[in-house]
Amino acid sequence: MSIAHHLPALLVVTPLAGAALTFVTERRRDPVVAVLTGLTILGLSIGLVIRVLAAGPFRYEIGSWGAPVGIDLVADGASALFVLLSAVVGLAVTVYATDYFRGSRASVCGHGMFWTLWLFMWTSLNALFLTGDIFNVYVCLELVGISAVALVTLNGGSQALRAGARYLFSSMLAAMTYLLGVAIVYSATGSLDMGILRSTLVSDPAAATGLSLMVAALLLKTALVPAHFWLPSAHGSAPSPVSAALSALVVKGSYFAILRLMISVAPPGFLPGVDIVLGVLGATAIIWGSLQALAQTRIKQLVAYSTVAQIGYLFIVFPLARAGTDVFLLALGGALFHAITHALAKSGFFLAAGSLASRFGYERIDEMAGAARSAPVLVMTLALAGVTMMGLPPSGGFAAKWMLVSAALAAGQWWWALVLVTGGLLAAAYMFRLLGVLLRDSPAALNPPSGAIRTEWVPLSLAAGAALLVLASPLVTELVNTSVLVLGQGVTP
């Protein structure tokens, strides 16, 4: 069995081993272990992408027991795409964190536990993207939840603790509801594997209720309006590398689980009306999140509410599934594209905002007047990331918005296109409000305190990645197609 076949397993075990190692070795060597683990994961994920592109999607039977008895990992286009995404963003956050957590802040912030918690989160994300078993998704969600909460409360301030507490209780509620859904689905169908569920599910009200409960719990974890109350305070008060990872990857993790459940598991029409509800909630999230973002005075709160809005884009794909497969393939491609570009842009944005805050002490937006002169690279990153979130041309965000708008128009459901366009304009409103302040002519310090190079170039490369993703699109489109075909019919063992 060639090494490439074991990639899914290695992708989960490597960060897990890394986490255990960082906990055992002394604190000085943790960053080195973390960066090395990150590089290995990046290599493995590139290998997985190549393997999926070459040999198509495949299942990895843990303990070679096979689906009903054992647990299978599913490596198809979508999971490979998201694993690669979390590898790229993860490595960037790790490199950035080696500077952010240097010196005094390391011991103050969670007694040096950042690295172990961070690698545990990375394990859970990879496990969540690759798993093919609905109970295993529960365990992965717990791993993500606990590591995210621990990372949010890292600096121990009253705001961080309060945000962490609210985040923990909402993820507890979500976890129990999800487990209840799994209990009902298992009791009704007798199987836990997604592929088998897909082939055996026929219109069975009990299983449908169970599945809806699971999706509802995942909505709470993805912070789709109205279940977004915990996100702004959590992402706002966490240290910036953490909030970058939360906004870019963690919300995408539970969204990916919803994608698996709604498309890979539930046959068409199995959950009547749920897709419309998701679409409407997504639309409200776009409008509501953007309006809230407009009203924010602190930069991290603005970005957090922008995440709430951008999550809404991802849910427009569900109602479009009704309009036939080719429209649905286009919409799904748009949603995956949006998830990727938003992850890159948002993590770049958070890291850049973090650098600005740590170097100049900026927290509120109006304090940052004239920053363009003293920190040109960081402001350029904010601008590039902002362009992606607005969905304007020189960015991957535009390609995603284009695919979603054309899918909506082709499906005849033009109102989604209207919402998407208004969302883009609102995003432009709050982004340019920020940029206006940054470009303002104020006697800012001409020779600014200089930070480590990596705190400038890592965010810029992320945001540039989001912008230039348009050029890498043949690869992304190919991956999306392999995933979409597979997501559409469920993986045949």
């Binding site: 939840g145 009253s158 509620l173 298992y186």
Partner: protein
Amino acid sequence: MNHYLVYGLGGALIFSIGVYGMLARPHLLHKVVAANLMGSGVFLILIGLGNRVQGRPDPVPQAMVLTGIVVTVALTALGLAIVKRYYTVTGLTTLDDDPPETDA
């Protein structure tokens, strides 16, 4: 009314009590207890419905419940640690009122 129904319905009742506790009780410790009740409710439903088998009951729900118990204790431990730390920092035991701005 064989006995799996008793435990199934009991589990449903305990889960709803847990939901009530989580939503109604402001005190954070009550919320932690409520979360554990919801967990126990789900476990009762899981194993209750796992007993509809001839012969020995279905082992898979039991394995799931064992994993669930360990995960719930992990969640509870983290929750209590945060609640206690929040209490030491702000002296508050609920999330309703805003804490003073004391970023440590």
